[in-house]
C-alpha cells in the first residue's frame, strides 16, 4: 500500500539527520588536520575538480587561521561549503590521499572543509570584495551550482549579473535533487545567500527560458549569456506498465521529498528501485527512511560495473535495501491501474561495450517481484527540445562547447547541461571556466 505518515516525527528527524556529521570540537578537527602531511603538488588537490588547495587550507586550520582556510577553499570553489557535504570524496580528493597508499584512513578532507566553511558562513565572513561595476552585464540561465559559481566570479570582476531561474529557489539540484540527509533546505538557502552577498548578482526566480524569457531577448539585453540549466527530464524505461499508478521517476520522487515535509510523503510497502547510480541509491535509501518496509534495487549489470561508488552502495546496504544484480526490468504489471509486480529478465555479462563495461545479455529467464511502488532511476535526459529550438549545437541534447563557448557568439554554457550530469563540484568548475571565457570575450583582462 502506498501511504504517508508512516513514522513519528522523531523517527523522520533521525532518519534524515546529517549523514556525515561535522566535527564537534576544534580539538577533533585539529587532530585530523594535524595528520595531514602537507603534500607537495598534492594528489588530493589534483583529484578535486575545482583544484582546491587542500594542503594549504588544512594547514591553515592547524594554525587557527580559519578565515584564511575558508578563503583558500572559496577562492577555488565558492560552493565549498555545499561540496563538503555532497561530494563523493571517496572517488575524488580523499580517494587520492596518500594515506590510502599506506593502508591508513585518508584525511577527512571534506569534514575539514566543512569545518572551515561552516565557520565562515555562520559568522558571515565576507571574504571577497567585488570590483566597482564596469558596466558590463551578463545573463545566466539557471541558479544551480554552475550558474552561481559563474556569477560569483563575474561579479568579483565588476560585471553585473542577472540569473534567470525557473524554480522559486536557488541552488539547482543541490536544493531539489540531492539526498535530504546530505543537505537541508535551510542550508541550501543560506549557501545561495552567502554567495550572492557579494553583490552584483540579481536572481530572478520563476523565470524559465523558453517560457517566460527567450534566448534572443537575453542576447539583446546582455553583453553575454551563460547557460547553466542542468538536465531535467527522467529517462523513460520504455517498457509496458510505466504509466501505472505507483510508478515514479526518482528525480520527481526526490524533488517532492526536498520540497515537502517528510510526513506528507507517500511511499509503498514494497518498493523496487531501478538502477544503481547515485540517484538510484538516493531514492532507495530515502524510500527506506520514509518508512517503506522493503526496498529492492534491481540493476542489469554487476557490482563491478555499477556507476555508484562502493561507499554509496554501503549506505544502501546499511539501510537494509536488497540488491538484485543482473536483472533488467521487462514489464510492470498492475491491478486496477495500480502497480502489483515488477517482472525482470535475468542477465549475464557479455562482451565489453563502448564504455568498456561488459554489457548484459538476456538469459531468457525472468523473475517476478511483488511490489506496490516502482521508482525509476535510469538516468536523466538533457533538455533537447529547448536546446534544439534555439539552434544550439548539441549532442543528444547535451550542449557542445569549445572553451565554454557554444556555437552562438556570446552564448556560453557549462555544468550538467553540457556534461549530461556529473557532480556539483564539476558544475562549479564549469562555472569558473565559463566566467573566464566570458571575461575574455568581453575583453576584461584579469
Amino acid at each position: 500500500m502506498i501511504s504517508n505518515n508512516r513514522l513519528s516525527s522523531q523517527q523522520y528527524e533521525q532518519n534524515f539527520a546529517d549523514i556525515h556529521p561535522p566535527f564537534e570540537t576544534q580539538d577533533a578537527a585539529m587532530v585530523e588536520a594535524n595528520r595531514c602531511l602537507f603534500c607537495y603538488d598534492a594528489p588530493c588537490m589534483k583529484s578535486c575538480p575545482t583544484s582546491i588547495d587542500v594542503p594549504k587550507f588544512i594547514k591553515q586550520i592547524t594554525t587557527e587561521n580559519i578565515k584564511g582556510s575558508a578563503h583558500t577553499i572559496f577562492s577555488s570553489n565558492i560552493m565549498g561549503a555545499g561540496c563538503s557535504k555532497v561530494c563523493p570524496v571517496e572517488k575524488l580528493c580523499e580517494g587520492a590521499c596518500v594515506y590510502n597508499l599506506m593502508d591508513e584512513d585518508p584525511i577527512p578532507i571534506a569534514k575539514l572543509q566543512r569545518y572551515a566553511t561552516e565557520k565562515a558562513m555562520s559568522n558571515n565572513w565576507q571574504l571577497f570584495q567585488r570590483k566597482a561595476s564596469i558596466g558590463k552585464r551578463v545573463a545566466i540561465v539557471g541558479a544551480g551550482p554552475a550558474g552561481l559559481s559563474c556569477a560569483h566570479v563575474l561579479s568579483r570582476q565588476g560585471i553585473d549579473v542577472t540569473i534567470y531561474e525557473k524554480e522559486s529557489k536557488g541552488g539547482g539540484l543541490m536544493t531539489y535533487g540531492i539526498a535530504a540527509y546530505k543537505v537541508t533546505p535551510q542550508f541550501c538557502e543560506d549557501e545561495v545567500n552567502y554567495i550572492t552577498a557579494i553583490g552584483g548578482i540579481d536572481i530572478k526566480y520563476n523565470q524559465a527560458l523558453g517560457k517566460d524569457i527567450t534566448l534572443q531577448q537575453l542576447q539583446q539585453d546582455y553583453d553575454a549569456v551563460y547557460l547553466a540549466f542542468g538536465v531535467g527530464l527522467a529517462r523513460q524505461l520504455e517498457i509496458p506498465g510505466e504509466d501505472l499508478k505507483g510508478v515514479e521517476d526518482a528525480i520527481s520522487f526526490i524533488y517532492e521529498l526536498r520540497t515537502n515535509n517528510y510526513a506528507s510523503l507517500a511511499v509503498g510497502d514494497k518498493v523496487a528501485v531501478i538502477g544503481m547510480g547515485m540517484t538510484a541509491i538516493d531514492a532507495a535509501t530515502q524510500a527506506k527512511r520514509l518508512g517503506a518496509k522493503e526496498v529492492t534495487m534491481v540493476y542489469r549489470r554487476t557490482q563491478e560495473e555499477m556507476p555508484c561508488t562502493e561507499h554509496e552502495l554501503h549506505i544502501a546496504q546499511l539501510d537494509g535495501c536488497n540488491i538484485i544484480w543482473l536483472a533488467a526490468p521487462k514489464e510492470i504489471k498492475g491491478v486496477d491501474g495500480k502497480v502489483t509486480q515488477l517482472v525482470c529478465e535475468t542477465m549475464q555479462l557479455g562482451e565489453p561495450d563502448a564504455s568498456g563495461r561488459r554489457s548484459p545479455v538476456p538469459t531468457g529467464e525472468t523473475i517476478v517481484l511483488d511490489v506496490d511502488m516502482v521508482i525509476k532511476a535510469a538516468g536523466q535526459m538533457p533538455f533537447d527540445a529547448l536546446v534544439n529550438s534555439n539552434g544550439i549545437e548539441n549532442k543528444n541534447g547535451k550542449v557542445t562547447i569549445n572553451n565554454a563557448a557554444t556555437n552562438i557568439v556570446g552564448v556560453f554554457a557549462g555544468g550538467d547541461c553540457v556534461n549530461g550530469g556529473k557532480e556539483v563540484v564539476d558544475a562549479v568548475q564549469a562555472g569558473k571556466d565559463g566566467a573566464a571565457a566570458i571575461s575574455k570575450y568581453l575583453g576584461i583582462s584579469n
Binding site: L37, C39, A42, P43, A96, V98
Partner: protein, 422 residues
C-alpha cells in the same frame, strides 16, 4: 634477562631511572606512588630557605598537535616547611630502603647554613645529596641557584663547604644557562664533588598570548623567564653531557643525566654518552609515574638483544664517537635512494630538496601521483629528504665513498686539494 640495576657511588637502585628534583618528588605521597610504580630512586625536591610561590607557574610549547613538547616553570624550591620534608624523607626511606634517596639542597649562601642543612638531611636518612646550582629563576635574585652555577669560583667554594660536612656522596647539578658547562663542572670536581648531574632548566619564553599580549606563564598581567625542559631540550642536554663526558677532569666522576628523558631510548642515549643514571621530570609530569614500566622493559629488551648484561657494559660507549669536525672523513659520501614500492608520492622530499637543498630530486608528473627519484650525481647526501619523508625506510642513504682512504679537512687542506665541488 639483563641486570638493569644501577650503582651510583654505592647508592643502589633497582633501575637507573630516578625522578629529578621537582614537583614529582616534592612530598611523601608523590614519592611513595613513584616507588610503587617502580622508579629506581628520587632526587627529593630542593630544600633550603623558605620561599613563596606565585600562580600560575607552568607553560608549555605544543607542536604539530602534540602537547608539551617543551615545558617551562617559574616555581621555586620546596615551599613546604623543612621539618615536614625531613620527616617524610625518613618515612619514605624506611618503607623503600632499596631505592635511591638523594636530597637536593640549596642553602643560603653561607657555610653555616649549608652545614646545618646537610646535618639535618643526613639525620633524616638521605643517601646522597644533589647541590642545586641550576635553578634559573627566583633563587638567583637571592644569590642562589644558577647564580652559583654560573660562577665557577663561587661554585667551587660552596662545594668545598659541602664536602667539609657531608658524609654521603655529593652530586653537583649544573645549570645550562652558561656558554659551556665545563668550567663549573671542573670547579665542582676541584671542590671535591663526587659526581655531576645535568642539565637543569634553560631560561626561556615559551610563547605569548596573542589576545592579551602577555607572555606565558601569566601572573597578573606579567610574566618572567621560565626554566625550559621536556623533550625539546634533550638535544641540548645531550650535547652538554658530552662535553662533560669528554673533559679530562669532569669525566672522572659519575654523571646523572637529565633533560628531556621520556622513554627508554632517550635514557639509553644519555647512558651511551656517559650517564650512569638518568633523571626524569617533565615526562612524569605529563603522563604520571606509569611511564617507568616501559622504560624498564624497553631497556631490558634492548640490552638482551644487544647482549649487554649490566648497564656498565654500554655506559659511555658513544662518547668517543663524537669528534671534531676537522677529524671527519671527507672521502665518506652517501646518496639518497627512494624505494619506489614504499613511496606514497607525498612530494615532501622533492620540495625540501628543490627549495632548500641541492635540487637533486627529479619529479615526473603524474595524475594524481607524481614519481620522485634521486639525481645521484647532484645529491650531496645531506639527509634532508630522508628526514622529511613520512614513510619509515622509504628513503635510505647509501654509501658511495669518493675514495677508499680516510682523509680529513686538515690533510685535505695541507695537500692543497680542490674545494667547492658543489
Amino acid at each position: 634477562m639483563a641486570d638493569i640495576s644501577a650503582n651510583f657511588l654505592g647508592i643502589k637502585s633497582p633501575n637507573p631511572f630516578w625522578l629529578a628534583s621537582a614537583p614529582p618528588t616534592d612530598k611523601k605521597i608523590n614519592v611513595l606512588r613513584a616507588y610503587e610504580a617502580g622508579w629506581g630512586g628520587v632526587v627529593w625536591k630542593t630544600l633550603g630557605s623558605q620561599v613563596k610561590n606565585v600562580s600560575s607557574r607552568y607553560s608549555a610549547v605544543d607542536y604539530g598537535g602534540h602537547r608539551v613538547m617543551g615545558f617551562n616553570n617559574i616555581e621555586l624550591i620546596s615551599d613546604r616547611p623543612l621539618d615536614i620534608n625531613l620527616k617524610e624523607i625518613t618515612e619514605v626511606v624506611k618503607l623503600f630502603p632499596d631505592r635511591a634517596m638523594i636530597v637536593s639542597l640549596m642553602a643560603d649562601n653561607n657555610r653555616a647554613a649549608w652545614h646545618k642543612l646537610i646535618q639535618q638531611c643526613e639525620d633524616a636518612g638521605a643517601m646522597g645529596f644533589e647541590l642545586n646550582f641550576g635553578c634559573p629563576h627566583g633563587m638567583t635574585e637571592r644569590g642562589m641557584g644558577a647564580a652559583v652555577g654560573q660562577d665557577p669560583q663561587i661554585a667551587k667554594m660552596v662545594v668545598e663547604w659541602v664536602m667539609e660536612k657531608a658524609t654521603i656522596p655529593v652530586i653537583t647539578k649544573l645549570t645550562p644557562n652558561v656558554h659551556s658547562v665545563v668550567p663549573t663542572g671542573r670547579a665542582a670536581v676541584e671542590g671535591g664533588t663526587n659526581a655531576l648531574s645535568l642539565i637543569n632548566t634553560i631560561q626561556s619564553v615559551t610563547g605569548i598570548n596573542l589576545d592579551t599580549l602577555v607572555p606565558n606563564p601569566y601572573v597578573a598581567g606579567k610574566s618572567v623567564f621560565g626554566g625550559y625542559c621536556g623533550p625539546a631540550v634533550k638535544p641540548i642536554a645531550l650535547k652538554m653531557l658530552t662535553t662533560i663526558a669528554q673533559d679530562e677532569l669532569t669525566s672522572k666522576v659519575p654523571i646523572s643525566g637529565i633533560g628531556g628523558v621520556s622513554t627508554w631510548k632517550d635514557a639509553v642515549e644519555f647512558m651511551l654518552l656517559g650517564s650512569t643514571t638518568v633523571q626524569v621530570c617533565t615526562a612524569a609530569m605529563k603522563h604520571g609515574f606509569r611511564i617507568v614500566e616501559d622504560m624498564c622493559e624497553g631497556l631490558n629488551n634492548w640490552m638482551d638483544e644487544k647482549g649487554y648484561k649490566t648497564i656498565n657494559d654500554f655506559i659511555g660507549k658513544s662518547v668517543e664517537k663524537i669528534t671534531h669536525w676537522e677529524d671527519l672523513d671527507i672521502n665518506y659520501h652517501h646518496i639518497a635512494h627512494i624505494n619506489q614500492d614504499k613511496c606514497i608520492h607525498c612530494g615532501l622530499c622533492y620540495i625540501a630538496c628543490e627549495d632548500t637543498s641541492h635540487q637533486s630530486i627529479n619529479l615526473a608528473y603524474g595524475k594524481p601521483y607524481n614519481t620522485y627519484s634521486i639525481k645521484e650525481e647532484e645529491c650531496v647526501g645531506c639527509n634532508l629528504c630522508q628526514l622529511v619523508c613520512p614513510v619509515d625506510g622509504c628513503i635510505t642513504m647509501e654509501e658511495h665513498r669518493v675514495a677508499p682512504e680516510y682523509i680529513n679537512w686538515k690533510q685535505w687542506q695541507a695537500e692543497g686539494r680542490a674545494l667547492n665541488d658543489h
